[in-house]
Amino acid sequence: MSLADGRGTPAFEAVGLARSYRLDGGVTVDALRGVDLRVEQGEFVAIVGPSGSGKSTLMHLLGCLDRPTSGTLRVNGVDVATLDDSGLADLRNRTIGFVFQSFHLLARTSALDNVALPLVYRGVPRAERRERARRALEAVGLGHRLTHRPSQMSGGEQQRVAVARALVGDPRVLLADEPTGNLDSRNGEEVMGLLERLNEGGVAVVLVTHDAEVAARARRRIHVRDGRIERDA
């Protein structure tokens, strides 16, 4: 690994990042209108803003799930424009962990296998996968729920499984789009605790939230409005 682990390299570096959608009628929606953003390694950032302001769009771009209409984005120093689709898939797999508002676990699949999924696409052998998945589940306090399926777990437990899945591949950054949005305050608190612990371990965390209390725990808050960064503090 060359640039990817470099100390001084920012986790994300976006310049003039924009994303517009062309609707069927020929109308274009500018979801993001030129965002300049730099997130250092190990930072903890909260993105806040009204609904429809472009937070999720930004997260998808940062997470390399989507490509910008214009502007450049470097993830761990790598310009994503230089990567093809499988290059992006590999980047997601190795450097980014995702946590979604609606958990996105595979139904009918055990917690252990859900957590091990990213390692499947990295070609990790099955035995090692299961061992790492087990350790990740223990790290989120679910060592006793290995064989449970999502339908057999509470929302809080499901989101902790999702966090375990995000961290099992030792990512550099963790992107969480309203990770506490579907949880009550106690479970939300627990998940936030996990994210903070991860962050202490050196993983950069970028999370989107509507919850002022959650946002208050971040060292840096970025306010988005109408597809632009309004305030960064």
Binding site: D85, R92, H104
Partner: protein, 394 residues
């Protein structure tokens, strides 16, 4: 992602929707089953007929007037016994040439009457054809020369007319004429639906008088070895054409017969297999349909997998393997059921069925190919899904 991994995922996905997977497979199972059974029947029929032809006796050339072939009209024979003598001179060895005059007549003993195929022939019949006797004797030259009213009965005719009584020396009546039984043939079975055990042989001269025509239906020549068949056939046909300029004669050899029948039955088997193949195709369409439904249902899953690092080709492989697994498992079940069905048909019905390894290999190959062919479209749709759109889907 490794293939073993993809396979495990596919098995898991199909297990989750067990009933649906089974029903989808059913289409393929029925298709493969019908291919295997129909090919087995076609091949069995071909084998049975080829065995019958070989049973005629080896290295025989049948000379008949006119054109022999599919759809050719039967020709009025103009050959008579002088032509047989002519062919004998051409061939050189008179004992290797025999003759046939055919007619169908009822044969009666007292009140019992049996419809039989009368064949007028001569003392050389037994040298050319393979026709063992059970009792009595063959026709002799004297029988032919003196137009004796003697007959040799096929085993079935003998059994029907005489039952357990020994027919040798007894009398039968054919068209009002009395004949003495001098021999009974051993049972040989049917050839081309010609029930040879229902034949009655009599001297050719006697037969001609009985029918009232001096004609013969055909001349049979026995070659001394397989290599001699073709030169001999040409020699005989050329000699007859020379004798009767402007007329056609055909000489059918066993090899030709085998070839023609083989081609016809091969085509028939092919047509049957193709018809069965259509049902396999319909099964494939079912697979395609279900895979499309599956892709739609699992849009979120696909988005998630992509977010976690699955490449387009991982997703493509996953769905393609699912489709191929459906069709090959269906194919294997279909093959087993087809082989079982063919064996059952052979055991309980007179229809011959013979299972060939190539039809099994083909059926398996085709079902796998059907999986790939019909799985590609849904799998590509899955692979191309935009992860953002897929993740937003609810």
């Amino acid at each position: 992602m490794k293939t073993a991994e993809a396979l495990r995922m596919a098995v898991e996905a199909l297990r989750v929707n067990r009933l649906r997977s089974m029903l989808t497979m059913l289409g393929v199972i029925i298709g493969v089953l019908s291919v295997v059974i129909l090919v087995a029947i076609g091949t069995g029929a071909k084998d049975a007929i080829e065995k019958e032809i070989s049973g005629l006796g080896s290295n025989i050339i049948l000379v008949v007037p006119g054109q022999v072939g599919l759809g050719a009209a039967p020709t009025q024979s103009r050959l008579d016994l002088s032509d047989v003598a002519y062919v004998r001179r051409v061939v050189g060895d008179p004992s290797k040439v025999t003759v046939a005059v055919n007619s169908g007549e009822p044969v009666r003993v007292g009140r019992v009457e049996v419809f039989a195929t009368l064949t007028g022939t001569d003392e050389n019949m037994a040298h050319v054809f393979d026709r063992p006797l059970r009792r009595g004797r063959y026709l002799t030259k004297t029988d032919v020369d003196t137009r004796r009213r003697v007959v040799i009965l096929g085993s079935e005719v003998a059994a029907k007319l005489f039952g357990d009584v020994d027919p040798i020396g007894r009398q039968v009546t054919i068209a009002g004429v009395r004949f003495r039984v001098v021999g009974v043939y051993a049972t040989v079975g049917a050839t081309f639906g010609v029930a040879r055990d229902q034949e009655v042989h009599l001297p050719v001269t006697t037969a001609q008088r009985l029918i009232g025509l001096p004609r013969i239906n055909g001349i049979a020549v026995g070659a001394s070895g397989p290599d001699e068949i073709e030169p001999l056939r040409r020699k005989v046909v050329d000699a007859l054409s020379e004798r009767y300029p402007g007329e056609t004669f055909s000489a059918v050899t066993q090899t030709q017969l085998l070839g023609t029948i083989g081609t016809v039955l091969g085509m028939l088997t092919g047509v049957l297999a193709a018809i069965a193949g259509i049902s396999l195709l319909v099964g494939g369409v079912g697979v395609s349909n279900i895979m499309l439904v599956s892709v739609r249902e699992r849009t979120r899953e696909i988005g998630l997998r992509k977010a976690l690092g699955a490449r387009g080709r991982d997703i493509l492989g996953q769905f393609l393997i699912e489709a191929v697994l459906l069709t090959t498992v269906g194919g294997v079940i279909g093959i087993l059921a087809g082989v079982g069905g063919a064996l059952l048909i052979r055991a309980v019905s007179p229809v011959p069925a013979s299972i060939t390894w190539w039809s099994i290999v083909l059926a398996f190959g085709v079902s796998a190919a059907v999986g790939v062919f019909f799985g590609v479209a849904p799998a590509r749709r899955a692979a191309r899904l935009d992860p953002v759109v897929a993740l937003r889907t609810d």
